[in-house]
């Protein structure tokens, strides 16, 4: 795994987020390096999913959410006045915990984002390209218009969702527990895919599977009670963490 420091694509600057009076993220400073894989780990309720959702403003619709500090995408604050969250999401895609294909054909699932964005190019080519990138093409190429997203296995559905996110050519792909609903073989395929994707896309992944974070990521961020406790090269964090709270969590001695 490469550990050289690429310029950050996404950065948080003293970023905080509240759900009503509860502060879920506390003054987090984090840099997500370009075309590298950053894993965010931590126990349930540590704020990791909230943080990753904040990266493409998915928390906007939740009533009572308030933020402070900044999240910068290529130096531009995504929470600044006048920034369109839809435009943010075009650059920063998201894949969720449970695969959520639409009740449409495989082709239409992938073409969806392109159509709503008024894509003018060759739709067929772009869909095929996204399916190839998501390592699903060989399995669905003969059924593009015959099968629906629901006809696929869980692992295939998740790769379909990844293809759908990739079709609009985002610069960053956010993944929130992308394998937690999958069996070990489907998980291994997604992990291989994540490593492949990182050649062209920046990946940030939230996982509570520490072995997964250790396997796939270049950088690991450990969060606890809304705070970023430790951030460093994955190899370092998993062999010689600096903070005793990180040590306690990754060795399973929490609580």
């Amino acid at each position: 795994m490469s550990e050289h420091v690429a310029p950050p694509v996404l950065s948080t600057r003293k970023f905080s987020l509240w759900y009503g009076s509860h502060q879920a993220v506390i003054e987090v400073d984090l840099d997500i390096a370009e075309r590298q894989i950053t894993a965010i780990i931590g126990p349930s309720g540590c704020g990791k999913s909230t943080l990753i959702r904040a990266f493409n403003r998915l928390n906007d619709l939740i009533p009572g959410v308030r933020t402070a500090g900044e999240i910068l995408f290529r130096g531009e604050g995504i929470y600044r006045r006048g920034v369109d969250p839809v435009a943010v999401r075009r650059h920063i895609g998201m894949v969720f915990q449970k695969p959520n294909p639409f009740p449409k054909t495989v082709f239409e699932n992938v073409a969806f984002g392109l159509r709503i964005n008024g894509f003018q190019g060759n739709l067929k080519d772009r869909v095929a390209q996204a399916l190839v990138q998501a390592a699903l093409w060989d399995e669905v190429k003969n059924d593009l218009h015959r099968k629906t997203g629901y006809d696929l296995s869980g692992g295939q559905q998740q790769r379909l969702c990844i293809a759908r996110a990739l079709a609009v050519e985002p610069e960053v792909l956010l993944m929130d527990e992308p394998c937690s609903a999958l069996d070990p073989i489907a998980t291994a395929k997604i992990e291989d895919l994540i490593r492949d994707l990182a050649r062209s896309v920046t990946v940030a992944i939230v996982t509570h599977n520490m072995q997964q974070a250790a396997r796939v990521s270049d950088w690991t961020a450990f969060m606890l009670l809304g705070e970023l406790v430790e951030f460093g090269p994955t190899r370092e964090v998993f062999t010689r963490p600096k903070d005793s709270r990180t040590e306690a969590y990754i060795t399973g001695r929490f609580g």
Binding site: M210, Q211, A214, F238, T239, R240, P241, T246, E247, I250, T251, G252, R253, F254, G255
Partner: protein, 224 residues
Amino acid sequence: MVREAFERELRALEGEVVALGTAVGEAVRGAVHALRTRDPDLAERVDLADDDINRRRFELEERCLALLATQQPMASDLRVLTAILHIATDLERMGDHAAGVARLVIRMGDEPLIKPLVDIPRMAELVVTMLDEAISAFVRRDAAAARRAAARDDEVDALHDQVHRELFLIMIQDPSTITQATYLMWASHGLERIADLVTNVCERVVFVAEGILEDLNQPRGGLG
């Protein structure tokens, strides 16, 4: 506290490292005592006991592998387990060298010694002290104590050089001593190697305690 079973097994493995270290220390002392007192029976027992050390090393390795495979240890747990794997190998090699000294005693038979043994027993005492200190530093995760123990390797090396010089002189003066002098050189070399292996153990202790891999046995100018 979670992972109690894991914790228990990890502590048990550390206990076994201590026990194996003690057995190796006894083998070193026994072999050199047999050499000094010309006791082939004791030498035989030391040689036989090495089979037990070898078996226990494999058992220790198996148990480490089982924990690595089933518990996915991380951070300091991972460092401790990989350290135990290395230490077990080093202890087993020390045991082999002790058995080698014991076999020299058997080979030398009842031939009288060409010189009274002074430095070789001193080397043995020093080596066993180093080993005890290294193992107790491991249990206490004491990197400073491990570095101190490793530093004693220079004293062992100096004694080894002295033994060599002395034996060379004896051989030059009386070539009929060459066979036994060579055996004694092997014995001294075996002890010197054990001290080097102890410095490996010390390196693992530093790794466990501080997470850094540090060379504690820099090359030097002398023999060995």
